[in-house]
Amino acid sequence: MTTQDTTAPVIELRHVEKSFGDIHVLKDINLAVKTGEVVVVIGPSGSGKSTLCRTINRLESIDSGEILISGKPLPEEGAELAAVRAELGMVFQSFNLFAHMSILRNVTIGPTEVLGMSRADAEREAMELLERVGVADQAEKVPAQLSGGQQQRVAIARSLAMHPKAMLFDEPTSALDPEMINEVLDVMVRLAGQGMTMIVVTHEMSFARRVADRVVFMADGQILEEGAPEEFFENPKTERAREFLDSIRGH
């Protein structure tokens, strides 16, 4: 979009391997996400999809393989790693808003502490973002006073305040009550519409159908299938994917 190399994928994983002790959670993962692309990762629980998502900003280290961000290897530590993390937004299943800070401060702390923005500028922008996700009227409250859906929308605003070049969503609606899922998905749909590059780990198949450019199906630490959503949902190629889709459609 800007001056950066547009030929290199924003996020690329090459032969990534990861084990927790005896459990091989990621097996030869290869994945490339282009600018503006929305990739939805689905699969049964324990398939390694959350781990995959977390390796991309190194909240989880990898045993071997390569992770490239805009063509450059993901740094392993220090200021370089922090700088890359600042460019990758992350939204967690459990929101993880800073519990001791106001909603507004949750959104401004990144820009002021990491980007060195002035408090006034950060607050102006934060209010716009909170407006965009529909929780501007909650700005002075603390996270515990908000509903789960509201907290998750604030978490998205907090990520957006860093002007990320891609966003990672790690099961963003899994901890929400059913009536709150859509208010979060709506925000994500709008983001995708505005061209945000996204990797979304989710169980929301309707979201995958509606928004995904590509669906990645994982099971037992492997990517078994990947393709356009219609194709995947109508004609899954692997038995494992067919079983999975049947099991979630079963009721």
Partner: protein, 285 residues
């Protein structure tokens, strides 16, 4: 997660015990009655023994009607307060530093802080006092009595407070750190801006409760002849030959002081909300 944060606050009693039924209520009533009788009987025995041994004689109690007795005890009380407060401030400061070192992630520093913490936590306060009283002067360092009691009490407490603070740090959900890292904070920044402030809120009540231990440690001031409450009480005992009555009064004053400290802790836990069960934003994946 549907549990609203405000409705999720319930007392420890509610969390640990279910509401008693009719039979249990009856049993509780009987138990309470028996306990009351036993306590009353014990009291009678104590008072009777005091009376029988002449401890209730006016000579042991009349000097408490003199203003000078109370002025003297009060000056001792001020001594106890100043040692306690100074030791507490130093202990919190040192404990904080030890905790930071321990969680710094820098191996050698963490190891040193761990050894220092365990040392001060494990060594009896009296031994530390002897060190400042008997060993330090041998190296030509002559400390005033105030510091010979305050320094060891502070050091002993710092080890405990370091552990209390570290427990607070461990109680902050991992997700808080992850969120801070994910917006590009360096680990040290994340710790100082996100984890430590929350940890302190969690443990403020425990920190204040720990002051009770500090207050009790200051009674060792007699070793270095610093005039604290207990030391002055001992002077009264020698003057009036009234051991039981004086210790009785001193004990009451200590109990009131420590009760006040505990009330402060309760107040603090209400203010910071750390006493409540509030896990709304802390459910882990």
């Amino acid at each position: 997660m549907s549990v609203n944060a405000r409705s999720a606050q319930f007392s420890m009693r509610d969390a640990l015990y279910e509401e008693p039924g009719p039979r249990t209520r009856r049993r509780i009533q009987i138990g309470t009655a028996i306990a009351a009788v036993v306590v009353a009987a014990l009291l009678v025995v104590v008072v009777h023994q005091f009376w029988a041994t002449g401890q209730l004689d006016p000579q042991y109690w009349l000097f408490f009607t003199q203003g000078t007795t109370w002025t003297f005890l009060f000056s001792g009380f001020l001594g106890t307060l100043s040692v306690s407060l100074t030791a507490a401030v130093i202990a919190i400061f040192l404990g904080f530093l030890l905790m930071l070192g321990r969680i710094s992630g820098i191996r050698p520093l963490a190891a040193v802080c761990r050894i220092v913490t365990d040392f001060f936590r494990g060594v009896p306060s009296l031994l530390l006092i002897y060190f400042f009283f008997l060993v330090v002067p041998q190296y030509g360092i002559k400390l005033p009595a105030f510091w010979m009691i305050t320094a060891p009490v502070a050091l002993a407490a710092s080890g405990v407070l370091a552990e209390v603070l570290r427990a607070g740090v461990n109680a902050v959900p991992r997700g808080q750190t992850e969120a801070a890292l994910s917006i590009g904070m360096r680990p040290f920044r994340a710790r100082m801006l996100i984890v430590v402030p929350q940890a302190i809120r969690f443990v403020i009540p425990s920190l204040i409760s720990q002051l009770v231990v500090v207050v009790k440690d200051t009674t060792l001031a007699y070793v270095v002849s610093y005039p604290d409450l207990l030391q002055n009480a001992r002077v009264l005992i020698t003057n009036y030959d009234a051991l039981v009555s004086t210790y009785f009064v001193a004990a009451i004053i200590y109990i009131l002081l420590n009760y006040a400290i505990n009330q402060l802790a309760v107040l603090a836990s209400k203010k910071t909300g750390s006493g409540r069960v509030d896990r709304m934003t802390q459910n882990s994946t």
